[in-house]
């Protein structure tokens, strides 16, 4: 068949149409669902992010079982500290309402390191009106105890001044820091 004088135009236009259709199909297939609902992104990503697992609960969640500790903790100077900071996350401890793992309890020198995260006077950047700091080992010397003493031998970690205040009450000794 002899080609007509405008066959090249037809071929070009045909090519463009085919490319446009293929491009459109590719766009439909490859654009994720919910893309562009709010903007140039996948709207479902918001829901996915919102559905992430909560790992830290609250002190109220802990106190539902550990009422004794929670009660003393809530009355002491450490009441603003989250249980989960020292002990680990609730999600590691409880799954589907059942206990799955025992959380660590700090002992010995770990306690000292933990306490000094907040209470070390050597770190001058700590605002004095916010946190009571002690210098180590001066504090131990002043209290006439061995330098190997750990903090929790005098201070009950959940309510640090509970025992101290009781001792002051009983003996009448004045407090020295």
């Amino acid at each position: 068949m002899e080609s007509s004088y405008n066959s090249h135009v037809k071929r070009i236009i045909g090519g463009i149409v085919i490319a446009a259709v293929l491009g459109f199909l590719a766009k439909v297939v490859m654009t994720p669902e919910s893309f562009g609902v709010y903007g140039h992104y996948r709207a479902d990503a918001i829901i996915e992010e919102a559905d992430r697992e909560i790992r830290h609960w609250t002190n109220a969640s802990c106190s539902s079982c550990h009422a004794h500790e929670a009660n003393r903790h809530s009355k002491g100077n450490h009441k603003t500290i989250s249980c989960e900071f020292c002990h680990g996350t609730y999600a590691d401890h409880i799954a589907d309402g059942k206990k799955v793992k025992t959380l660590p309890v700090m002992t010995g020198d770990e306690i000292k390191t933990l306490c000094l995260r907040c209470h070390n006077k050597a770190i001058e950047a700590r605002p004095e009106d916010v946190i009571k700091t002690v210098a180590m080992p001066d504090h131990l010397k002043k209290q006439n105890v061995k330098e190997t003493h750990t903090c929790n031998q005098c201070h009950y970690v959940h309510a640090p001044l509970e025992y101290i205040n009781q001792a002051i009450k009983i003996t009448g000794i004045k407090e020295t820091i």
Partner: protein, 288 residues
């Protein structure tokens, strides 16, 4: 009933004598024991289905609500405007926030969604900044190499600034990072190709490439917690309340009151023009 009829009831007063009871009806006794044993072991094998699936959903309702006005109603994204305030004058550099953040998201070692910097200024106006392990292990030691007298020293917690004009969103070539209608800058890890443009574009260095997934990650102000009416985890665990979070449209929120007060409130790198929603209270001019 025929069994009891057969059993001779020797003891007066209606109490059956145990020996005669057993002797008289061993078959019934064994049957009872077997039934109990089989029934009991079945209970152990077959889990109690009732309510387990639903319970998981509602468990979070047991956590006391921390941000008022989110639970029990339709979440309208367009009516929310959250703000974060970091109070420099209250930060003690304990690193609780960093620890909590690492645990909430299983952040790999060496990467930080939030971190705490220590600033030290001496009398010659030299500024020294350090942040060992992002503050995740706290600050146990003063800086030994600084011999001069310290004029001013303080901690600065850093996290995503949730810019109103985010440069990271602008540069993302695949629409993986975006600003949600409620003002959160989030990363869609399914879209992200890990090119790292956003990491370079962020003026606050808040982003990192996750070494395992090879996608960009950053602080989300705990979007998953906020949507459930809970505070971001760093705000929740902060023992001195140096971090504060709330809805600016809620006139009773602490954040609203702070931002309306006479305190010195500033944002970091204001001249970058990113318009952050993260505000700092009591921050010094040296902080960048």
């Amino acid at each position: 009933m025929s069994r009891t009829d057969k059993t001779p009831n020797a003891v007066s007063g209606g109490v059956p004598d145990m020996a005669t009871e057993l002797n008289g009806d061993r078959r019934a006794f064994i049957k009872k024991v077997l039934k109990g044993a089989i029934g009991g072991s079945l209970l152990l094998v077959i889990p109690l289905e009732a309510g387990v699936g639903e319970k998981q959903e509602n468990d979070f309702d047991k956590i006391p609500e921390q941000i008022p006005g989110i639970r029990g109603q339709e979440y309208d994204m367009s009516s929310r405007q959250f703000a974060f305030v970091v109070d420099i004058t209250r930060c003690i550099g304990c690193g609780s926030c960093c620890v909590a953040d690492k645990r909430e998201y299983n952040v790999p070692d060496g990467n930080y969604r939030t971190w705490v910097e220590r600033y030290v200024k001496d009398f010659d106006d030299n500024v020294y900044v350090d942040s060992p392990k992002g503050g995740v292990e706290g600050y146990q030691e003063p800086r030994p190499e600084l011999k001069g007298k310290i004029r001013d020293t303080f901690f600065v917690p850093k996290l995503c600034n949730m810019c109103k004009k985010p440069s990271c969103v602008q540069v993302c070539p695949v629409g993986a990072t975006f600003k949600s209608p409620d003002g959160f800058i989030l990363v869609d890890s399914k879209r992200c190709v890990g090119c790292g443009y956003c990491i370079q574009a962020c003026p606050y260095s808040a982003r990192f490439l996750h070494p395992v997934t090879r996608t960009a990650e950053k602080c989300t102000w705990c979007y998953h917690r906020v949507r459930k009416g809970l505070l971001p985890v760093c705000v929740h665990v902060c023992p001195t309340k140096a971090r504060k979070f709330g809805d600016m449209n809620d006139k009773k929120s602490e954040v609203y009151k702070i931002l309306r007060s006479h305190d010195v409130i500033t944002v970091l790198k204001k001249d970058m023009g990113n318009a952050p929603s993260l505000y700092y209270k009591g921050v010094r001019r040296e902080v960048v």
